[in-house]
Subunit: 263 residues, 2 copies
């Protein structure tokens, strides 16, 4: 019995902050006939707003610390401005999008990150995604647009990594659908040679991944993404694609991007 | 055949800006067993944020003009910060709230206000509420929390009066439920004597309303609220209650507030 296909597509700041690229991406995304979920990250607006409001941004090991004022800003920008503008623009394209934070209908439950050495502040690690809510919305024809803000069930909102939300959403829906998870980023895919955009590795299987890592070809920055991709595959996700959001149709048709699968 | 009761309750800035009153209100609201919709207005945060960002606020005849920068602010504050915090706090009370702007699932469609003499900016007048979406969510046990931001279906978000959204929501759900619409505000109800909080008029029927207006007892500020209340009653809403959000249980039990009904 073959399950219905479903797309979970994650976009980041490089698309959100570029009106032309975003518009083209939304045209392509809205045209996907199958059920679909869009997971978005942040972008420069939160940083600019923090600067305007003179809220200092602290970083620990490259990660933003989410203090109470920063949480307020990211809640406003991610769950408010970005999420609602994406939804309104999809509605204008005939795609009945519905935007949710993790608190809405308990869509994405998380807990505040525990770390022995330092406090990340109001950052959430995902406990689970509410597949029942999402399948209800998808089955009535809605497209779900998830903001990277979750909650702990005790009234606390939490700033949460959008890649992780996409992965957990894909996993949670894996028993209902044949899920294709797309991580879009600024490169055309996983590159054999980081300096050459034409060196995209078209397909990666677990064996191939071991070979690439052993040969030192996979850059340090890509390893967590690929580890996540393989973790998704082992927990019920059908396929993972990495590539440019601007090239969405070619990613989905298999002509572009890196396609990650079991064999 | 008696329809199931449903509550549509509107709260404004006087509750949203007061953490103690808000917490008590949410305790009472979460305890309502029947299906329910919370419609919220703004509050001081949008004004304070506009001041911090040095976005000048223009008023025409007491109404805020929503220019592009102000729309950005109210989208962030109303659909982001306020809506998601209300939802998270209701989740913490065991109430599975889901927060929506009018763009989400096309929940509330509006058009940009047309006015012969001046331009209100990005202000929306409501065309319709999506009863099918709301009944789907309510029937799976969710409580809907509506932000006063709508859309025009062409990609434009619009700042919209929360009283009107509450009224249109009550009307749209009137054929599915016996709807009780509660307008909370800073007074204990419609007052016989504006200076005396104990002079609440307990019940107003259409005849009583004509008498009160003829005698000059209803203040100019209350007339639009009461006109809206009677308009709601003639379009399928079961009852309208006006009073203090802090007294929600007594409003619903009939012990307090002004109860507006046909006869």
């Amino acid at each position: 019995m073959s399950r219905q296909p479903l797309y979970v597509i994650k976009i980041g700041g490089n698309i959100i902050d570029d009106a032309t690229k975003l518009s083209l991406f939304l045209d392509h995304f809205a045209a996907i006939k199958a059920p679909k979920v869009l997971v978005h990250g942040g972008g420069k607006l939160a940083t600019r707003l923090a600067e305007s409001l003179q809220v200092p941004q602290q970083l620990i090991e490259g990660r933003r610390i989410t203090d109470a004022e920063t949480l307020k800003i990211v809640t406003m920008v991610y769950a408010g401005y970005i999420n609602k503008n994406l939804v309104a623009q999809l509605q204008a394209r005939g795609c009945s999008a519905i935007g949710l934070s993790g608190a809405d209908g308990d869509a994405v439950r998380a807990h505040k990150r525990r770390h022995a050495a330092f406090d990340y502040g109001f950052v959430g690690d995902v406990d689970g995604v509410n597949a029942d809510l999402l399948t209800t919305l998808l089955s009535r024809g809605n497209t779900v647009v998830l903001a990277p803000i979750t909650h702990d069930g005790k009234g606390q909102l939490l700033n949460t990594n959008a890649d992780t939300i996409a992965q957990e959403t894909a996993r949670a829906l894996g028993s209902h659908f044949h899920v294709c998870l797309v991580y879009s980023f600024e490169k055309a895919g996983v590159l054999q040679n980081a300096a050459d955009e034409d060196s995209v590795i078209r397909a990666i299987t677990p064996e191939k991944y071991r070979e690439l890592k052993a040969a030192g070809i996979v850059s340090a920055g890509m390893i967590p993404k690929l580890d996540n991709a393989f973790a998704a595959l082992t927990s019920g996700v059908g396929e993972v694609i990495i590539g440019k959001a601007e090239e969405l149709p070619a990613l989905l048709s298999g002509e572009k991007g890196t396609h990650i699968h079991h064999d």
